[in-house]
């Protein structure tokens, strides 16, 4: 399968400056495309557009030539930088995990998720533990592409390595296509099959950021 963004242009309001200009990007199944660049260059915006959270002002996002589905479970899923904001603080972990599908024990074991965490509230888990839940909940068999927006930036180096090792195993096994957004070049070199420098791809004249 192939996820493509073609000539994507984006700005938040009419008067604000362009954030993305004429960006084209292609991700094939099994590929892990790293997008690196300093903050303020629209990395997260590009992630949201490819995952279908935002509509580009011009240009298009397509999955195997067709549109992204508007209803139902999206084959393109996104994992965020702050797991504590991407889970409902009023739900227990089991409800959060099983919102879309019920992962089997095998997958939970591979993701390092312990069953005793199921009855806890999100505030009772660490960032690393929460992030495992956020990953597992979008690893349904229907997921074909994963957009990862700085998913281990807030975690310590050991947890970061743990999570990426788990996620890479899973991605390789399922031939997932991934877009990996990070400001950490060493990390991108470790986990990606190819790397794009967003400032070079983005056709914006930047006087001052």
């Amino acid at each position: 399968m192939q996820l493509t963004g073609e000539n994507i242009n984006f700005k938040y309001t009419k008067k604000s400056p362009w954030i993305l200009k004429d960006i084209s990007i292609t991700i094939n199944s099994g590929e892990r495309v790293g997008v690196v660049g300093p903050s303020g260059y629209g990395k997260s915006t590009l992630a949201k557009i490819l995952a279908g959270y935002l509509k580009p002002l011009a240009g298009s996002v397509s999955l195997d030539g067709g549109d992204l589905p508007k209803k139902g479970y999206s084959p393109v899923q996104m994992i965020y930088q702050h797991p504590e904001f991407s889970v409902n603080p009023r739900l227990k972990m089991k409800d959060i995990l099983e919102e879309a599908w019920v992962p089997d024990d095998d997958l939970l074991g591979r993701m390092g998720i312990e069953k005793k965490w199921f009855t806890r509230w999100p505030s009772e888990l660490s960032g690393g533990e929460l992030q495992r839940f956020c990953i597992a909940r979008v690893l349904s068999p229907k997921t074909k592409f994963l957009i990862c927006d700085e998913i281990t930036t807030m975690l310590d180096a050991i947890t970061q390595a743990q999570i990426w090792n788990l996620l890479l195993d899973e991605a390789k096994k399922r031939e997932l296509g991934m877009m990996i957004i990070t400001h950490n070049k060493s990390l991108a070199e470790r986990v990606c099959t190819s790397i794009i420098e967003l400032p070079e791809l983005n056709h914006i004249e930047r006087a001052d950021v």
Partner: protein
């Protein structure tokens, strides 16, 4: 080397409520020892949410009502506590908080930076030094961009020409290159004799700017060692946790050890790292003091072995 701030066996606990009215004491910082000398940057590195900020707030006396703090804190050899630190704050000791929300929204930034003890001349000098355009002092915080607000916080910290700066995540949201650029001024200040305690979750940043690194784990400092020991390889490090932390970096081996940091309230007895440690034996169960090993300080029963 002249010692500025010394923290010995700091313990911070919060009285919390368990379902209903049962109170219990939640220890978030324990047996934390740390020292900062004149002219050096000491970085406290630990994962987000592990209680690093509480360390700064405890020393500065900024914790909420339900906190208890014990331990010895000295500033230039004088014993201080929550109350007596007040006379140093804003003059000898400056604090750069994590959030720009600490600026007063209804006060012009110039007046805020001058505060009670500052002078107009010093403020102008600092604003020029930190590239804050003329007229900024007449603005209110909402008229300043995020980057400007951060620089304003820094200038207000420098107003009293402090000897010690405690900075909590001073470069949020910046990538490594920009963060290091932003911290160049810190380096310059340190070279001129200021002591800086830099609290950060970003180990690459700490590696780039600090003189010594304090490895923060589950509410305590397990190792305090010169930055050279952390670069390239983990062999020189004294604590198994610091070694595994460096090994897990993507530029190094990227191989993690198993397990997670224990929670406050659910800590192992003895060495905090022992449940995940490959060196664990009976010696790890007791109280382990901070000891000097090869020019660094470490809290490990096996540090002297190898």
């Amino acid at each position: 080397m002249e010692e500025l701030l010394k923290v010995k066996d700091l313990l911070v606990s919060f009285s919390m409520y368990k379902k209903g009215f049962h109170k219990y004491e939640l220890e978030v910082i324990h047996q934390l020892s740390l020292d900062i000398n004149k002219g050096e940057i000491v970085a406290v590195v630990g994962s987000s949410g592990s209680g690093k900020s509480i360390l700064a707030e405890a020393v500065l006396g900024l914790l909420p009502k339900n906190a208890t703090v014990t331990g010895e804190v000295t500033y230039k050899g004088n014993d201080i506590d929550e109350k007596s630190i007040r006379k140093y704050l804003g003059k000898d000791i400056a604090y750069i908080p994590q959030s720009v929300d600490h600026l007063d929204p209804v006060m012009k930034v110039g007046d805020q930076v001058i505060g009670v003890n500052g002078t107009k001349e010093r403020q102008e000098e600092l604003f020029e030094q930190y590239n804050l355009p003329k007229g900024t002092e007449e603005k209110y915080p909402f008229q300043c961009s995020g980057g400007m607000s951060r620089r304003i916080l820094v200038t207000s910290a420098l107003m009293g020409r402090p000897d010690l700066i405690i900075a909590d995540e001073p470069t949020p949201g910046l990538d490594l290159k920009m963060a290091l650029e932003a911290l160049k001024d810190f380096r310059e200040l340190a070279d001129n004799g200021t002591g800086i305690l830099l609290i950060t979750h970003d180990i690459d940043l700490a590696l780039g700017v600090a003189d010594r690194i304090a490895v923060f784990y589950a509410g305590s400092v397990l190792e305090l060692a010169p930055v050279e020991d952390f670069v390239h390889n983990s062999d020189k490090l004294r604590h198994p946790y610091s070694q595994s932390l460096i090994k897990a970096l993507p530029q190094n081996d990227f191989t993690p050890i198993r397990g997670t940091q224990p929670y406050a309230g659910d800590l192992p007895s003895g060495c905090l790292f022992s449940p995940r440690c490959w060196l664990r034996d009976d010696k790890c169960a007791g109280n382990i003091p901070m000891t000097e090993v090869r020019g660094g300080k470490v809290r490990c029963a096996h540090a002297a072995d190898g």
